[in-house]
Structure formats: C-alpha cells, structure tokens
C-alpha cells in the first residue's frame, strides 16, 4: 500500500517494483528518482520496505542505504537535487550524535532522531491524506451535476441613479444653456412646479374642479396653500388651465384649457 507504484521499462522489460537489494540499473535511476517525491519519500520507502520501526530507526542502516542510493545517483552524474544532499548531511549528523557518549547531566535530552521521526510521520500522514483526497469522488470525474438547458431571458436591471447624478446632469444643462433665461431654481420654485404637476394630474382625472377643492385648508399650513395658489396662477399664466365664474361670489371652477 505504501509502495510507490512504478512502471519503468528497461530494455523492454517492465520493472514494477524496486529491487530488494536496492541495486538500480543506472538507466532506470532517473525514472526512480522521479517516482519519489523527495528525500523524505525515499526514506519512508526504505523504512517501510525493510520493516523498520519508524519510532526506533536504526540510524546506521538507514544512513548507509540512503547514502548508497545517493552515491549511485552521483555515479551516473545525475543532477542531484540539493534536497537529497541536505538530507544526507542531516542523517550523518544524527548518526554521529547518537555515537557520542551522552554527558550525565543532559541524560534527558531528546533523542537526536526525534525531529526526523516527527517529519517522517508528518509527511506520511500527508501522503496518505493525498491518496484519500485523490480517491474521493470529484465533480467532473465521478460526480455529475445537473445542468439542463433553459432559455435565457434577460432581466435587465435598470441603472442606479443617485441624487448626485441628477444634479450633476442639471448642472451640465445649465452650464451649456447660457441663453437660458430662468436660471433660478430655488426650493420655493420647485414646490410651485411640483404643485403644478399635481394639479394637472388631478384635473386629468376629474376634469373639472371647484377652486376651493384644490385647497386642503384643514390639513395644510399657510405656506403650502400659498404655494398651491401660486401654482394655479402659474398654470393659468402658461395657459394650461382655465378659470371660470358665472357671476360674482359664485364658485370659481377650474378646468384644463381644452380647445373649443
């Protein structure tokens, strides 16, 4: 299960596993090197292949085997990844530290192999995790997602317009219309204009209104009533409505100025 799957062909013969004695035909070396993901992967292979206990690695054996492998790579002048040489150095250092007699006072010092073991276990866990991830069903390979057709209708979302956009547009209009006579658009004028539109809307519906109906005396304050009156005068001035009165003191009627 841990074994690295190999499919090297040397002189027409297929090699499906690494040879027991670690003799590697020089031609195949490059293939094997590629089969390993790095020095940790190679070390794990050696440990697993020879049934070594990962928690109690015989450093001498392991280092010797690893170095043999690396020497063979060197022998055929394979461009050796620096990572492999770095690992050689680390193994030799661990081995030599284990050979040294430990001074009594630092008896409890960590096993020099501890860091290597930690890294090997971490890497092995990741290696297995990678295999599991690889085996999991994935969209596009083993999972087919519904994607039936539908007729796309475009639902166009109208553009956003902010107050700033609007006033910017108005500013541009004013800027260009230098001949424009009635620049002044203050709040008072706007409210008159708003009422002009409102009165026209009402007359469109009712056609014919009594003058007093346009004033909501009970609910609206004096300023609003004045604005409404100004709007009526402005509409009359612009010829948009007509005011009629049959006789003095009789009701005044207002209607749209329809042509006779």
């Amino acid at each position: 299960m841990i074994e690295t799957p190999l499919s090297a062909k040397i002189k027409g013969e297929a090699f499906t596993q690494l040879p027991q004695d670690l003799y590697i035909p020089p031609d195949a070396l490059e293939v094997y090197l590629e089969a390993f993901e790095g020095p940790l992967d190679l070390l794990l292979y050696l440990i697993r292949k020879h049934n070594l206990d990962i928690l109690d690695i015989p450093m001498a054996d392991l280092t010797r085997q690893y170095m043999e492998y690396v020497e063979k790579m060197k022998a055929i002048k394979l461009e050796l990844a620096g990572d492999y040489l770095l690992m050689s150095a680390m193994l030799i250092e661990i081995k030599s530290r284990m050979l040294l007699p430990k001074p009594a006072e630092i008896e409890s010092e960590d096993d020099p192999r501890a860091e290597l073991v930690r890294r090997l276990m971490e890497y092995e866990a990741i290696k297995l995790a990678a295999q599991r991830l690889d085996e999991m069903p994935k969209v596009g390979e083993d999972i087919a997602v519904a994607s039936a057709y539908y007729q796309h209708i475009s639902d166009v979302k109208p553009p956003e317009v902010s107050l700033d956009d609007l006033t910017e547009a108005w500013r541009n209009v004013l800027m260009r219309a230098s001949h424009f006579k009635h620049h002044k658009v203050g709040k008072a004028e706007l409210s008159v204009r708003e009422h002009m539109s409102m009165i026209l809307r009402r007359l469109k519906v009712d056609n014919f209104l009594e003058f007093s109906q346009l004033f909501d005396v009970e609910n609206e304050g004096i300023p609003k009533l004045v604005v409404c009156f100004l709007a009526i005068l402005e509409l009359a001035r612009e010829g948009l409505l007509r005011m009629t009165q049959q006789a003095p003191f009789t009701p005044i009627y207002i209607q749209l100025n329809a042509r006779d």
Partner: protein, 183 residues
C-alpha cells in the same frame, strides 16, 4: 446496477445523462451509455416515453438540431431570469439631462427640453424614462399641436429617496454666480 435490466432502468440512465449534460446528446452519444448494443429505434422509443413521463413536470425533453436535451418549460424562465439580472450600465447623458430638466422645470413639453438642451429629443430617451415610471404625461399645453406636458412621478421620488421635489438640491449656489453676470 451495472447493466440496466429493464425499460424503466434504461430510461433512468437516459434521464440522468440528459439532465447532467450541458450540451444536447445525439443518438450516437446515447448509444454509448449502454454497454450492450442499443438499436436506434429502441432508443427513440425510450426517448419518446421519457418525454411523456415528463409531460406534466417542470422540464421538457425536446429535440434540437444536434440532439436531445431537457429544458425548463418557458413559464419558468422569468423566474430564472431573476437569478442573474443583467445590470444595465448607466443612463446616457441625454437621458440624465432630460430627466433633470423634467425634474426641475416641470411640467415641460418636449419642445421645452429641446430648447434647453439645444438638440432634438430622441424618442428613445422619453421611452426609457416612461418605462422606468419616472416620468409621465400630465396634460397638454394648449398651443398648436397640443404638445404633451411631462412631469416626474411619485415613483421617481421614491427611487431617489425623496419625499418631495423640494428636497432636490437647489441650484442657487451655482446659478447665482452665473446670474450675477447675466441678469
């Protein structure tokens, strides 16, 4: 199930293939689904039955140029359109200026707008504003031709978060500086 035993299972295989394919499947494609040889006539019959099975359901099996596909019945397409509304980029300058003129000078005729902007009003511009329900006709000016008078709607105020037109920024600051030169 590694081999579909009966008609029902074969239809199920076809249904899955058609529902999960983003492209229409040809008869050749569908024959590949089955390890055993499947006659084209049998396949057509199965497709016909499958089509009927879905007759009262949400999707319909249709034949198009390159093959068969399931597609959403048209009545659902309006809902689906809401999922990815296309954002219209921005109103043109002409639309914005026309809107501004109507907002500040209402009620105005098309002629008024043309006079202020100095160019003819594209009918398309008025259509966009009316379709958005921001502008409507509030009357006619009693001059020859009886041109329509346009004003902004309550809906326009709502969309711009205004309670009344008086909340539009007054242009006095800008206008005054010009007015001093002009008036």
């Amino acid at each position: 199930m590694t081999k579909p035993e009966n008609i029902t299972q074969k239809k199920q295989v076809l249904e899955v293939a058609l529902l999960t394919s983003s492209q229409p499947l040809s008869l050749d494609d569908m024959q590949k689904l089955f390890a055993d040889r499947m006659e084209r006539a049998t396949l057509r019959m199965l497709l016909d039955e499958l089509k009927q099975d879905w007759d009262t359901r949400t999707m319909e099996l249709v034949q198009v140029a390159t093959g068969y596909r399931f597609q959403a019945r048209p009545e659902y397409c309006t809902f689906l359109a809401r999922l990815n509304p296309e954002k219209q980029s921005k109103y043109s300058r002409a639309v914005m200026e026309t809107l501004a003129i109507i907002a500040y000078r209402q009620p105005v005729t098309r002629g008024d707008i043309e006079e202020i902007r100095g160019v003819a009003v594209n009918p398309n511009v008025m259509r966009q504003l009316q379709e958005r329900d921001w502008v409507d006709v509030v009357g006619q000016r009693e001059v020859p031709g009886r041109p329509s008078l346009y004003a902004t709607t309550k809906h326009f105020l709502d969309d711009l978060n205004l309670k009344s037109l008086t909340e539009l920024p007054a242009m006095e600051d800008f206008v005054n500086s010009e007015a001093q030169l002009d008036l």
